[in-house]
Amino acid sequence: MAELNLSPRVIPDRLQSRGSRALKSWESLLLVVAVLIFAINSFASPYFLDPWNLSDATFNFTEKAMIAFAMALVIIAGEIDLSVASIIALSSTAMGLAVTMGADTPTLVVVGLGTGLLCGAVNGLLITGLGLPSIVVTIGTMSLFRGLSFIILGDQAYTGYPASFAYFGQGYVWWVFSFEFALFAVFAVIYSVLLHKTNFGRAVYAIGNNQTAALFSGVRVGRVKFILFLLTGLMAGIASICLTSRLGSTRPSIALGVELEVVTMVVLGGVSILGGSGTIPGVVLAAFIMGMVTFGFGLLNVPGIVMSIFIGVLLISVIALPILWARARRRVAH
């Protein structure tokens, strides 16, 4: 996605203090929004402030957020992966196929993760190996992966997953904290450390800001990107295990359109769609916001397709507002 930027880059001559930067950051704005939505929801519905209801609400975002962490890294590196929802479908189909062959729960997990990794590797090889644009490749694999599920399943559905398999999507670790939520929290920490505290994370930012400069600084651009697509595939595999376990069945149309919600979550979290900037805590907050909004709508009996309009508007306005804001400030400054 080559973008045209004709405005001169402004380099401020005085850096702001750490405290004032933190206050003005996108993440603190998200935090305020999250608190507001929480408050509005508690007023709008008497059922919102119940620990078990809130725990149910987390299922609205945990699976998508796990993919969003990996997707955030991909987008920061200046690429995109639109095939994640189809990877969920294909891994779910593969697990369903394994069930009909009499696989037990550990085997199912291996099959789910393996399929996710394999799909990620296909994306990664096409993009880094052949140097193809990720947007077209993943549009292609988006129909290829889901198409394979359709070939395998047709209009059928797999059910009959073993009882122990239900734990991943329906089990609780402690009190109201579900296994999925615990997994989400663990991955939030892992990805924060990976992106913000390791060489690998710095390489991801470097590639997103200037791929050629990164290459000349000794960053193995191809290898880093390949790993990113592998990670996204793996996370989609994990999400597929959780979702399949939660629903207890597989259809080829499972998780249709989830890629849009994942991308929205990442962008809402303050990750620039053009690459080069963004943080994992931002994505975590965005996940909470989207989860609570959809749950609040659900309590108010708003149909799913209306929520998807909301997500579409949210996606566009989240990108448009900072641009309008910056433009308004520039006008005031002149």
């Binding site: 080559a2 973008e3 947007i135 292609g140 988006m142 309009i309 508007v313 996606l315 566009i316 990108i319």
Partner: protein, 325 residues
Amino acid sequence: MAKLLKNREILLVLAIIALVFAIALRFPGFVAPANLARVYNDTSILIILALGQMAVILTRCIDLSMAANLALCGMVAAMINAAFPGVPIPLVILTVVALGAALGSINGLLVWKLDIPPIVVTLGTLTIFRGMIFLLTNGAWINAHQMSDAFKALPRAPLIGFPVLSWLSVVAIAAVYILMTRTPIGRAFFAVGGNPYAAVYTGIDVGRTRFFAYCLSGGLAGLAGYLWVSRYAVAYVDIAAGFELDIIAACVIGGISIAGGIGSVGGAVLGSLFLGVIKNALPVINISPFAQLAISGTVIIIAVAVNARTEKRKGRVILKKAEAV
């Protein structure tokens, strides 16, 4: 001869002929002129849409909202017809073409005035347009018996041996061909995609050009919306769901570079026909229609890989080693 073989359109024509003959070896009926005309007619809507998508892709943008735009316009056409059966069909068509262009102009304005990446804009409007159909209808269908006979008959009506649907796509091809090759705005599409910086210095407004490309793709999606709904005689929220991928696939197969600036009307038409032949051949050679999604996916990937190779050869490669990593 070697030069001729490098021409993408000729290669595609040869590929399509080879495909048709391979099918004809086992099922001679497939090459009967009447059947080939039927395949073309069945591909007409895809051709119309691919022409619009081509203009957008040429300017380095993408329109993922075309199928949703089609569905919304088709639903509005059906609703107008169901509520006021007396409204003449050409007026209905004009209305939905204008509506489609207006919806496309929303995409265009967001890309032009706010500099939002096209993929994000159209991913967003894709869900918004589909959601609007639900808000309009509350999820209800409009079925054949609610549409007037004239509404349903137009695309099927024979005109000099071929259905009006086929003729409309021929008119669209001719109009877009003239627009692309004989008008300043058509040349601007290529200039903006080929080198946006140079385009600015030649006095072309990049944003405005992109805006027009989106209006064109929206208007064509509106036309396709009427054709789709009247041809299949049903309108509901999910018509043409996922069809945006077929449109992009047709363009990519037709050699339109996703990086902008490279492509032709002939390529878009041939890419659509290639997909159309495959789609119509599947039931003949006894492959489940469920395989179609996987086949289009594979074809997209192969086509983009082939495109990338031919484009790389054309461009100057500075830093050969760096690019190879």
